[in-house]
């Protein structure tokens, strides 16, 4: 009698373990539309209303327990935030002193402190044409030309009120009387000197990657650069009269989407997505003004002039 009970117990145990292993193996090897997954979805569908009801019914209990946890956590956070506040107050005081000293020193040295876009007039133009194949040539045609003061080399930024309408989109590479051609930053021939707004402000050269123009590559970066995903990339610009940049400094260009330390060490590059939605632009702003006076010279240097 006892032996029979033992054998039965062991047999049931073995059966349960085997069934579990079969379920595990079958489920793990199945696709999402397989019978076991379908059964699981059915059970979840049946259980969902019950869980919803139970969740509502048990909410006061959850809230009660949550209140204890929240109180303890809030006290901890309060202490941490107080420490942060004190640190930030010290930093703000330091920054204010540094800003005052900076302004005084700039005044003493007579440094031009005008930044980027303030030097430029902005002319809004409508996009009236696009290149057919953006893998080989990525250009736009605008309805503003030399008659509107547009010159070769003028920077062009996105226009509009949407979240993805700002940011650098390219430069004027050809000007007609009433139209202009914009070579986008995603064009294979385009290269923009940029600065990554990480802790060190590393400089690099941004180009489009082969086969995927919207995946921009910032190259020639330091191998040990501490760049992280999400860092903003802006135009580097140059205020030197001997080596003037095509773009004014500090125009937002993109956001780092991938910063792999191995890739950074081997190829000195990170991946960037443009801020402006280059595939859905209806308007663009051409930055005209004093800085584009030498646009023809720049076009000769960069070889940017040409037809669409």
């Amino acid at each position: 009698m006892y032996d029979k009970q033992v054998r039965r117990r062991r047999a049931v145990l073995a059966l349960l373990v085997v069934v579990s292993l079969i379920l595990l193996t079958a489920y793990f090897g199945e696709s999402a539309g397989s019978p076991l997954h379908s059964v699981q979805r059915g059970v979840v569908a049946v259980l969902s209303p019950i869980q919803d009801g139970a969740s509502r019914a048990l909410k006061p209990v959850r809230d009660l327990f949550g209140w204890f946890g929240d109180t303890a956590r809030a006290k901890t956070e309060r202490d941490q935030l107080r420490k942060q506040r004190d640190q930030l107050l010290q930093e703000v005081a330091g920054y204010r002193v540094a800003m005052q000293e900076n302004a005084q020193l700039r005044g003493v040295l007579g440094v031009d402190d005008s930044s980027g876009l303030r030097d430029y007039r902005q002319h809004t133009a409508r996009v009236i044409g696009r290149s057919l194949d953006n893998l080989v040539s990525d250009r736009l045609q605008l309805d503003a030309g030399s008659g509107d003061g547009v010159r070769v080399g003028d920077p062009v930024i996105g226009s509009g009120s949407g979240p993805n309408t700002g940011g650098l989109i390219g430069h004027i590479s050809f000007v007609g009387p009433d139209y202009a051609i914009v070579t986008l930053i995603t064009d294979p021939s385009s290269a923009v000197s940029v600065r990554v707004l990480d802790n060190a402000g590393d400089f690099g050269l941004m180009k489009s990657s082969v086969g995927n123009p919207l995946d921009l590559l910032v190259q020639l970066l330091p191998r040990n650069a501490q760049i992280q995903q999400g860092d903003i990339v802006v135009t580097a610009g140059s205020r030197s009269s001997s080596l003037e940049s095509l773009y004014p400094p500090n125009i937002p260009v993109g956001r780092v989407t991938k910063a792999d330390p191995l890739e950074l060490d081997a190829d000195q590059q990170v991946h960037v997505a443009p801020i402006a939605d280059l595939r859905h632009l209806d308007f663009a702003q051409i930055l005209t003004g004093p800085a584009s006076a030498s646009g023809q010279q720049r076009a000769q240097v960069t070889g940017g002039a040409g037809g669409p």
Partner: protein
């Protein structure tokens, strides 16, 4: 014993298992203490094993584990395997030792929680889920075991209250009945030689 008594225990265990999983998912999992949430399913399974024996413990563990995996859209069989071991182990402890100390459920609950936590992490790791092995993970395991230990006694008392009337062989109940229905304890019983 009438005919309906044979179904009492399975019915009660089925209701207990269903309620355990629903309450666990709808309420207990959503409350975190020191960054972790309690898991009462191994405690309930261990309690059933301690009260009803190894076979009901293993079957109950299998059923609750399968239900948990189904409801949480997890890989089927993972929780079942762990809870079978917990239910069977607790039941074998009862059958072999029949421990009467009041703190036994606490120790068994802590062991069950530890086995469930570590075992689940280990099985996920074996199934290819990337999980960083760190001090943070170790801390979470320790805190989970502590919380499980705290809940073990109340959960055991609740489970005992639910299944008490349907247990076929409860040694303590048998002993109590002997003393309270006129029987003498071994200390009071006169020796045969006198």
């Amino acid at each position: 014993m009438n005919r309906g008594d044979g179904y009492q225990l399975p019915l009660r265990l089925a209701a207990l298992g269903f309620l355990t999983v629903v309450v666990q998912i709808a309420a207990i999992s959503q409350v975190t203490v020191f960054g972790v949430s309690a898991d009462i399913s191994p405690l309930v399974v261990a309690s059933v094993g301690l009260l009803a024996g190894s076979l009901p413990g293993a079957v109950f563990g299998f059923a609750v584990g399968l239900f948990v995996d189904l409801a949480l859209v997890q890989t089927l069989g993972v929780s079942s395997l762990l809870l079978i071991a917990i239910g069977y182990g607790a039941g074998r402890l009862r059958e072999l030792r029949d421990p009467a100390h009041g703190l036994v459920p606490l120790v068994v609950g802590a062991a069950a929680t530890g086995l469930a936590t570590v075992g689940f992490a280990l099985m996920q790791f074996l199934l290819g889920v990337r999980a960083p092995v760190s001090w943070l993970l170790l801390r979470e395991v320790v805190v989970t075991i502590l919380i499980g230990s705290l809940l073990a006694l109340p959960v055991y008392a609740l489970v005992r209250r639910i299944v008490r009337g349907s247990l076929p062989q409860d040694p303590r109940r048998r002993r109590r009945r002997a003393y309270t229905t006129g029987g003498l304890s071994p200390l009071q019983r006169p020796s045969a030689g006198r």
